[in-house]
Amino acid sequence: MAEDLIEIRWHGRGGQGAKTAALLFGEAAIDTGMFIQAFPEYGPERTGAPIKSFNRLSKKPIRLHSGITNPNIVLVLDPTLLKTIDVLEGLEKGGILIVNTHKSPKEMREELSVEPGILVYTLDASKIAMETIGMNKPNTPMLGALARVTHILDFDKMLESIERKLKKKFRGKPEEIVSKNMEAIKTAHKMTKGEE
């Protein structure tokens, strides 16, 4: 497979914005000149039900149209999923796990028995979302964490792109919803923790 291909899996619950996060990240990557795919896993869609969404990013055109089974990066938007879903499935050495939790990366590693060679990062995205947006919408903060950890995209360019997309998405809603989301991403970018 193409060596420069990056594959991402998002875990969330219906309504938390895992699909939107994948779309926003994908569009931001296009704005920086990359080729992308962003797609959700379609099944019965219910609020609160576990869902997955995916990204592929590459500097070259992407021809693969299969599902993603061995992601390079896994993001978990809801810590309650950790008990029921094997979020580490297919994640290999060199891979990255980013979890929305108040716990430390070390605690997460122990709790999930993450094998050495996989990097673990945590962020209390729900807390940041509550404090900035006023709702438990952890998807935009997790975008900040993703940017911090991976450096796939230039952070400033990504912010610009996401702001543009959110303005379009929230057209007709109070303007502050966009600025609050942007603040959430920036705060998350600073607050993401890795292992020492």
Binding site: M1, A22, I30, F39, H65, S66, G67
Partner: protein
């Protein structure tokens, strides 16, 4: 040109907006995807001049479209799966009346069991209806093909279905290059029609009773019209390529020149197959892909030229022919090869029904099977890939 992120649904709807058809009649409810929903927003926002007819069923959608085309309008619609199946009766009428219409179809399987995911059974069901059929690999090709199809149908006086794989393409965001509105308008040109049922000064009869005396001649003419489509498709495609830099052909050969084994495949799986071929080529294996874009007209000459001299070929069908032997693409390819001397040993694979994922390792298994045959082992002539037996 602008670079944008679009799903195939959005890309096809954007193409429809830029084409600005005179009439779109549609029934935009599941199994139809959001193409018509997006397009209806363009109508509501005044971005197109289209007369949008929200009919009560797909049967009525096809009927209204056919009527509008007979009146001389440029007509498009979109549907999927059971919706396309419900159009079936009318779909045989449109090409028989030699009317150009473009359907943006998303390939979803047919019931039963109930399932909304990808396979090609819905368009295969329309195989003999007289519509041209174009299968695409990605959103870019979906967008480009819809624009090309307007020109092709209006020159051939036959309708066309442009189809993209459900979810894999229809709901997956991808990078595409969109043309400017004026470029699209300039490419498709003004819609001209030699006859119109609304032209009261030159009255004509459309669709009358036509019994033993002339029915056969009219069907013969329709068959001849389809036989003459390949040069039209190639000409329009070439012109599109000259203007915008992307050309597709009736088929696409990928690393075939020095290959001794190949996969023949349609739709999004062609992309995955190309990746697999690149990987296997690194290990020195002489493998390639032939992507069939035009299934109707059947590109017999191109296929034969492409596969002549190959030793082993696997034909991949994302549909089950229910004939007790092999599915439509397999039987077409195999039948075409009958007329060439150096024909490959050919095997059929049914795959991906009801949206079953097709991974690189699945396609690698197909090449592994062909290798087994090469080393003298026997395999079934028709195989099922990735199914629990």
């Amino acid at each position: 040109m602008k670079v944008v992120a679009k799903t195939a649904n959005e890309a096809m709807a954007e193409a429809m907006r830029q084409i600005n058809p005179d009439v779109v009649a549609a029934y935009p409810i599941t199994p139809s995807t959001e193409i018509v929903q997006i397009f209806s927003r363009f109508v509501a926002d005044g971005e197109v001049d289209t007369e949008f007819v929200p009919v009560e069923s797909e049967h009525s959608a096809a009927s209204a479209c056919t009527g509008a085309a007979a009146a001389g309008a440029r007509v498009m619609t979109a549907t999927s799966s059971q919706g396309l199946a419900l159009m079936n009766e009318v779909l045989f009428v449109t090409p028989a009346l030699r009317l150009p219409i473009v359907i943006c179809a998303i390939n979803r399987t047919l019931s039963a069991p109930i399932n909304i995911h990808c396979d090609h059974s819905d368009t295969m069901d329309q195989r003999d209806s007289g519509w041209m059929q174009f299968y695409v690999e990605d959103s870019q090709e979906a967008y480009d093909s819809v624009i090309q199809a307007v020109r092709i149908t209006e020159e051939a006086f036959l309708p066309a279905i442009v189809s993209a794989d459900a979810f894999i393409l229809s709901h997956s965001l991808q990078r595409i290059e969109m043309l400017e509105d004026e470029e699209v308008q300039d490419f498709i040109g003004e819609h001209k029609t030699p006859y119109s049922v609304l032209d009261v000064d030159n009255p004509i009869t459309v669709g009358p009773l036509d019994l033993q005396d002339y029915y056969f001649e009219h069907k013969r003419g329709e068959a001849e019209a389809m036989r003459k489509t390949p040069p039209i498709i190639k000409k329009v495609d070439r012109e599109f390529g000259e203007r915008f830099g992307r050309e597709y052909g009736l088929i696409e050969e990928y690393r075939i020149k020095d290959a001794n084994k190949a996969i023949v495949v349609m739709g999004s799986t062609a992309g995955t197959a190309k990746e697999v071929v690149d990987t296997l080529r690194q290990d020195g294996e002489k493998v390639g892909v032939v992507k069939v874009k035009a299934f109707r007209p059947w590109p017999r000459e191109d296929i034969n030229k492409s596969l002549e001299g190959l030793e082993y070929v696997a034909v991949m069908d994302r549909a089950e022919g229910m004939n007790g032997f092999g599915s439509p693409l397999f039987t077409e390819v195999r039948s075409s090869l009958y007329e060439i001397d150096k024909r490959p040993d050919i095997y059929g694979y049914v795959y991906g029904l009801g949206g079953r994922d097709v991974k690189p390792r699945d396609l690698k298994k197909v090449f592994d099977d062909l290798k087994k045959v090469e080393s003298g082992k026997k395999i079934e002539r028709v195989n099922y890939l990735g199914v629990r037996e």
